[in-house]
Symmetry: C3
Subunit: 206 residues, 3 copies
């Protein structure tokens, strides 16, 4: 499935760039930048593989992901200003990435015979834990816990994929449609400034 | 062993509530609250399973733990005030939970042929790492590193269990007695305000 | 290979001491100190084993590492002042440790049939993640991300080892030479105050 590989690599690339830019903001040295790029790009899939027992973890099968992630360092060095301006473009890549990571993560869990519910969770883990690990390594509260809508975007995509799979919709259509659901929800959320639901408990406390 | 299953679920439930309440205190959004509930309730057992190579990790075998943890979210929303008042009751659940998690963690390690010493460590890991992961995800120093007695409570329970097992005491008696040791030590610690031993090194430095 | 075992234990010991001293600085209690000693000493190798699927993780095979790490607690209590003065000596142990951990980590990955590039990464992970986990558990930004040269020292050692292995240099010579590369670079870095390269991106932003 060539399209999947290409979008997987785009997602990895976009997440790596997001790691590099976070490292710059935190003034890490070159080594810290490299670690953060890898952790952001590979962290979600790695955690999924470790939890479901699919080891050595997936990205070790070939060196492609490693070269791709390393390439973001000089690239970010050369094109830093442009990248900052292109934030919107990367946001698209990043959104594409989480869409596909969600679906890929689910597929891998389903193929190992795990339950649909566990598989949805593994899809979400694949998509969001790269960013969580990035923030934990930076000694910050994960941004996704405080003001990101995209957990719900990828949850919706995961449920869509699961529903269509259950009724045997064509696999490739299902894949692209589910990724599109993630992207659409995230884009709409930005455009219409949907804020994440505040924790319903917080108001109770005040 | 029905009693074990029931208390396991009680422990999971109590830990999940503890995660939800921590998330509220930190003003996380709904997604952050869900993640924190899962990490607190399942983190210790998950780390144990990953370290000993028992994957897919235990809670993936059925969906019961997942439903149970999700159920704490609306429950906490509806009964937040009551929960705050019932802190003492939850403290009992939580203590029950760590007692049983300690013993279950040891059993699993022993059954895989690991050494008694390693098994004691895996028991303690099962009981305490849920809370440690909760605190790391919240970008806080784990509370257990600074002012919790319960690491020693569960260590005592683990050693009791190991000792009785070595001399072939009846399994069920051993299980309940060891859990009781954990609970008793923790309750006594609260009642008589046993403070945790300060790090003996600290005074040396000053 | 007796020399390897001895230096492995020296490295474990030195890392455990580094964990204990970090815990003292952060005023953790005794339990927090023990956890930090274990996490620092075993964290890197544990993460490597989990990622490559070599579980139960290596240190569970015997109790030697556990006893050794526990022994650092009373030792640090008794000799704390001396340890502080001997920082330079420990620095040597620590450097020896990362040198050997790098090479051991690579070897283990290679022996599982992973690619040379992945193996180099696993060598670096083995050497540096103990310290990263120590800092994350202390809710600090990993020191290695901000001002440590030794990531590059162990990367150089890993590449040396890989290069010599490729041209079939004698295994033991290669081992010692590669460890020596790590140590030499680190010592030179200290002596001549090589600072870590600042993140090349940082200046771009300002």
């Amino acid at each position: 499935m060539d399209a999947v590989v290409i979008i997987d690599l785009c997602g990895t690339f976009a997440f790596a760039i997001s790691g590099v830019m976070a490292a710059v903001e935190r003034k890490f040295d070159l080594f810290g930048t490299i670690i953060l790029a890898f952790a952001t790009a590979l962290g979600g899939g790695t955690l999924r593989d470790v939890l479901i027992g699919s080891t050595p973890v997936g990205w070790m099968e070939s060196d492609v992901h490693i070269y791709l992630i390393f390439s973001t360092i000089p690239m970010a060095f050369l094109f830093f200003k442009m990248l900052t301006k292109l934030k919107r473009t990367f946001f698209i890549f990043d959104t594409l990435g989480i869409g596909l990571f969600t679906v890929l993560g689910m597929e891998k869990a389903i193929s190992l015979g795990l339950s649909p519910l566990v598989s949805v969770m593994m899809g979400v883990v694949t998509a969001v834990f790269g960013g969580i690990i990035r923030d934990v390594l930076s000694s910050r509260v994960p941004i996704i816990f405080e003001k990101e809508i995209y957990a719900f975007a990828c949850l919706s995509g995961a449920l869509t994929y699961l529903g269509f799979k259950t009724i045997h919709v064509n696999e490739e259509f299902n894949l692209f449609f589910s990724v599109a659901v993630v992207i659409t929800i995230r884009l709409l959320a930005i455009k219409y400034k949907w804020s994440i639901p505040f924790n319903p408990l917080v108001s109770k406390r005040d």
